[in-house]
Symmetry: C2
Subunit: 402 residues, 2 copies
């Protein structure tokens, strides 16, 4: 008997591991944890400006914003970081109004070097102030048009390696250089990421956790096509946005059998979205998994005071409780009420503290999870062919003014 097939059955955990190990030889993000950061730190030290404006979009800004937003309130940062991401004129104008451009370093970030939003905004900045080697930095691929511009104008540039995709680039110069400049410890960042790297590639706890989770997501993808990340801290708002890009753009693909795949990411913030999205999770269709992210130590002891408000004494049980305890109890209550239903898959990630290591570890873990899910799904996590058609149509519209 002869038998021929082109089915792609479920892969074993071991095969997933060896596929990822193989992929690590040509997909660049895995090994960013081994980078030498000396040049980044020396450059950072040389920056005199107080305002740092990153001009970029998508993968060029979201990871940096996620880390900055998470850490900025507990660090004594001497410089301020801003992001110009969109072509919305109101957004550009209102952001620039509050920044002294004469005391600003502009960091133009584009992997391809020809991102239309980024270059358009940078052109506009050029009409407001002279951009030169003293106030401009470029981060791009080595052979890009943007790097050609940098060289022609003797502007310093850092490289985005060809094999590091935009949404996987937070631990490259894209994220590390702006973060180092504002005073975040980028060695600690890489340390946090490397711990997950090591634990994964020695098939330790991180590996076991990720493979199990990814397998569940894929095996139940037709029942649960939506993955909700429910972060119980406003500091994680940037992380949520970064996760949405990472997950959506990496996993929304056509697989090797020409079948459309995709898990839809949703990022919500607790307790705010208990008053907005939780009802849908609890009573709506069973099409969602929920990952709750908690922060163990907020480094903040703001307390609800023991004050009697006439009429409102039934709420006195919150008196003398720290807000950080309240928000964590709110998370626990949400988790318990979801788990009581028994038919909503729910996992909980608790971050120890507000530190470089913890946020970097979380982000590296999500990158690994994305890569592993893509392997299970027989798709390429690292391209984004679906957005090219729109770019071509836009160019035609603008060139022909149609």
């Amino acid at each position: 008997m002869k038998y021929q097939h082109n089915f792609n059955p479920t892969i074993s955990d071991e095969d997933i591991f060896s596929e990822i190990v193989k992929e690590k030889e040509y997909i660049g993000y895995y090994n960013l944890v081994f980078q030498d950061t000396l040049e980044y730190k020396e450059y950072a030290k040389s920056v005199k400006q107080k305002n740092i404006v990153v001009i970029g979009i998508g993968g060029s800004t979201l990871g940096t914003y996620a880390i900055y937003k998470f850490l900025k309130y507990s660090k004594n940062l001497t410089k301020k970081l801003y992001f110009l991401e969109t072509t919305d004129p109101i957004d550009i104008k209102s952001k620039l109004e509050n920044i002294d451009l004469n005391d600003t370093l502009f960091i133009v970030i584009s992997k391809s070097g020809t991102t239309i939003e980024t270059i358009s905004i940078f052109k506009y900045i050029n009409s407001l102030i002279t951009c030169d080697r003293d106030n401009t930095l470029v981060i791009t691929e080595n052979d890009s048009k943007l790097n050609e511009y940098a060289k022609a104008n003797k502007i310093k540039s850092f490289e985005i390696p060809k094999n590091v995709g935009g949404r996987f680039s937070v631990f490259s110069a894209v994220g590390l250089v702006p973060l180092a400049i504002v005073g975040i410890d980028i060695d600690e960042i890489l340390h946090g990421a490397k711990k997950r790297h090591d634990s994964f590639f020695t098939q330790g706890k991180t590996y076991a956790r990720i493979v199990k989770k990814a397998r569940f997501f894929i095996e139940y993808k037709n029942s649960f096509n939506i993955n909700v990340v429910f972060s119980y801290s406003s500091r994680l708002e940037g992380f949520n946005k970064w996760y949405i890009q990472l997950w959506g753009e990496s996993l929304g693909k056509v697989d090797i059998n020409s079948s459309r795949q995709g898990l839809t990411p949703i990022g919500i913030i607790g307790p705010i979205d208990q008053h907005s999205f939780l009802q849908l999770i609890v009573e709506g269709r069973r099409d969602k998994t929920v990952t709750v992210i908690k922060v163990d130590d907020f480094y903040n002891h703001l307390k609800i005071p023991n004050i009697e408000l006439t009429g409102l004494s039934e709420l006195n049980y919150v008196d003398d409780i720290e807000f950080s305890l309240l928000i964590n109890k709110q998370a626990d209550a949400t988790i318990e009420s979801i788990n009581n239903l028994k038919d909503i898959p729910c996992d909980v990630i608790t971050i120890d503290s507000v530190s470089e290591r913890s946020i970097a570890g979380l982000m590296y873990e999500y990158e690994l999870l994305t890569s592993v899910c893509a392997k299970f799904m027989y798709i390429n996590a690292y391209d984004q062919p679906g957005v090219e058609a729109g770019k071509i149509i836009l160019k035609q519209k603008l060139q022909t003014k149609s």
Copy 2:
């Protein structure tokens, strides 16, 4: 022959209409367009403080924020509006740091009057500054504990009618009072909403559009369980958040046959999320409808200058184009690329201009759409029983310190 059944087949458009007309007699939001705003405006005029801090969460803030965010950059508003929504201590602390509390009016908004987040934050404010009739306003139901507090302290209060749900309350005192205080024309707001009201209840264009759209959503709810609102302006970020609550909390319900219903709302912003979520829409599973919202006139003529940047001349086709044209062309290119695929349901809403009327019309239309969808789904759009369990668990945890 006798035949008995308890099926609920698809309702006719006419039956939907008469159901909504019946509902209008006891569901309050529909008739908010007929309110007399004199008292709101007179109170607004009397406010001397420069900073207005709304303490509230969910339906008590999202609608007000949506309108404020949409309008604030094109109005010369003399007062600033802030929102304290979350129990995250970092959020509370960082927001209050930038506000002169001695020049602040605190507006405490809670429909039930005992929202734990709102009262906890208000207690904290009480430890920072004396809250009394000179700097505090309450908006709540007439017989709530919060109103009892207001009366006991001779603090002015406005009423949220019992039959107006939180997420449908933007056109009540909840939204209109804070907006009037900062200088937004609330008669124009109601005018914009009333236009949609009239067109719907005379079975005009609004009615035809909404019923058709709702019917499609419900008939295809098992294929397309996710509805994406893709707003091409950062000004609509607040609208997106408001829509997510309205849609998620109203439609995520158990229907009269005990079957779980729910359409999952996603709000994204263009062009930013072209670099994050569009790939998933275009190549991922066909489980999403897409509604693109465009703003016709941005009232802003910021232009990409005609500047030659060495190396980047291939992008010169953007020179001399206004950013508002660029962003609208980006929207058009996205719409065209989605429509070319022919298997993603996509509709486009174009708002004429940045005005009170236009944002209010859009919001009232979405309220009507939500009510009509709920009728098709045989669910109650106006309750949220799914979040009660978590509240009880939280109270237990806090009372027993478990």
